[in-house]
């Protein structure tokens, strides 16, 4: 019972009441059993605004235990205000240990990135999802998109991609690139860059996606096929950082943030994954 004193009084461990957590875990189990399928759940209101990671946060709250080591990132960084805020709430209500080191964390909540270092089978990655429905691009009605998923009818999205090519010479989707999971369900991988998509494919770890405002949970279990939509003659491509490197650690194999220096107008690049970058610098020095 030692941990009782470690978190904020007057609140249950990890904020949510136990029956809500149970409901969330059930939805997560269903999501794992049907990879890529969006499981509806009754999202709770949290002291964090909807649209700011309440879906991911509810999953984390339902999963976290006193022994977990938590990492929270936003845009690849541990120190962005929203990541700080989410970490603060979780620490206040659980008292768990936190880390910035990807390889030490048991539970990682993220917005818009997958950490650069590969994750292991004992790690869980929780994504914050703004738009769970990949077909929303072509169909605004939820009742209709659910029917399209049930029938695996993804023709309208394929046509959309084809028209993109006709019009622009290439598929123009930047981040949040639609993927086919386990050869069955079309899935929105959350607004991660295309750079991160290949790292969902046959990964060792469990990926859980939570959309709070839209009230959906879905999953990519370990060792599951995740294939971006592509045409034989127009293959999927990740962001192009050829000839560029991180100004801080020198990395040429990571997703880079572009920075404009105010005084000189010079364009430089740094790793978007700040903890990986710091680790690399420490190893070098």
């Amino acid at each position: 019972m030692a941990q009782r004193t470690r978190y904020k009084r007057g609140y249950n461990f990890a904020f949510l009441d136990e029956s809500s957590k149970k409901e969330l875990r059930r939805a997560m189990l269903k999501a794992v059993a049907i990879p890529g399928y969006q499981v509806p759940f009754a999202s709770r209101e949290l002291p964090l605004a909807q649209g700011w990671g309440t879906g991911g946060l509810q999953l984390t709250m339902a999963l976290i235990g006193p022994e977990d080591i938590l990492k929270v990132i936003d845009q690849g960084s541990d120190d962005v205000v929203n990541a700080v805020n989410i970490r603060k709430l979780l620490v206040q209500t659980t008292g768990v240990a936190t880390t910035e080191d990807t390889q030490r964390a048991t539970l990682i909540q993220t917005r818009h990135r997958i950490p650069e270092e590969p994750l292991c089978s004992w790690q869980i990655l929780v994504f914050q999802v703004p738009y769970p429905e990949p077909l929303r691009l072509v169909e605004p009605s939820e009742a209709k998109t659910r029917e399209m998923h049930a029938e695996a009818d993804y023709s309208r999205l394929w046509v959309h991609l084809y028209e993109d090519i006709v019009r622009w010479g290439e598929i123009t989707i930047g981040a949040q690139y639609p993927v086919m999971v386990n050869g069955r369900y079309l899935m929105d991988p959350s607004p991660i860059p295309r750079w991160d998509i290949p790292r969902l494919h046959m990964a060792d770890h469990l990926n859980l996606f939570g959309a709070g405002r839209e009230k959906r949970i879905y999953a990519v279990p370990p060792y599951t096929k995740v294939e971006p939509l592509e045409f034989e003659d127009y293959p999927f491509r990740v962001e192009d950082f050829r000839g560029k490197s991180c100004a801080a650690c020198g990395s040429t194999s990571t997703f880079l943030d572009e920075l404009l220096e105010e005084t000189t107008g010079k364009r430089t690049y740094t790793c978007s994954d700040t903890s990986y970058c710091a680790k690399k610098r420490a190893a070098r020095d």
């Binding site: 509806p40 990135r113 019009r167």
Partner: protein, 379 residues
Amino acid sequence: MGYVPIKGGLKAIEAAEELVTYFRLRGGSPPLEAEQIRDQLRLAVDRVMGEGSLYAPFHAAVALKQAEGDVLEASFILRAYRSTLPRLAYTQTVDTREMRIIRRISAAFKDIPGGQLLGPTRDYSLRLLDLELAEEGTTHVKEFLAAYTFRLDSINAPLGLTFPKVVDMLRREGLLEEPVGGDGTGEIPDITRQPLLFPAPRSARLQAMARGETGGLMALAYSSMRGYGNIHPTLGELRVGYLPVRAALEGKGKLVTVGTVLVTEAEVIARMDGGGKGQQPRFTLGYGLCFGHNEVKAISMAILDRAMRSTVKEAPAEDEEFVLYHTDGIEAAGFTAHWKLPHYVTFQSVLDRLRRRQENQGKNEQKEEVTGDGPKDEV
């Protein structure tokens, strides 16, 4: 070395929070008491309770103080607080015939059983800015209250009456459709415990609208009234009053009155319906009910309730997904505010696409110069 714009988040947040308190207090005027807000900003409190989906006037008043009067923000605070409370029981269905009325009007009939009761309304007041209010002091308040209650006592004012309902009268005469219920099982889904799925039962739609944002509901209802799918509403009855709430609590066999809530109820008589085969045509009903005294919300809700039942969906207000997904103030405000969060990664990603497109176009243009008949871009 490159400049990293996002370090030091924790310190920045703490400093910002301190500044918020400073901006709230820097005028140096005496702090607002929660009781003052509860009593004198009655309608703001009611809105926060409705949109925050928790009937708690004192907590709503504190939330308004904390949010510096921002009703959306205060509703959000109350909604989040609600999440921490256990669900002890479901109350028995309330019957608004039991309502202790403070206001009740009908726009359909001049003479309704029980009569029209104007109640506390500023509908017919001229909206002249009353600068005398700036001079209001505690003596004014005491004097007014003493004189007013003396008069009330002397005429034995009939406050807190119950009245028969206008719609019952219409139903007895066969002019109005019978109540349209949920899914027929008698079960009412709890939208805070079960996800809202489409098509949604009417009971779920009404629950979602009861916690909807007043302005959002009004905008969509107004679009319907103006002509985007007009259902031709007539306000059958609007009532404001107190309702007893009863629940069977654990360990106690019988029903217990757990409290009284102030609610606004609107019943809108709308476009007639052909009825089934062999049935007479009848008017249809739109229903709205919300916490507190909020007439615009209850009326908007009733109009949308009816609009969403239209069999042919032609206007936004008739599409339940469109209405229900976009009128929750907490969800909409949260997502609108989220654009302030960093989107560096996604932006980098689209930047990559744009540059590539520009490159492609550059190549095409070069080709065009050589051959003279390259592909034409349609943009």
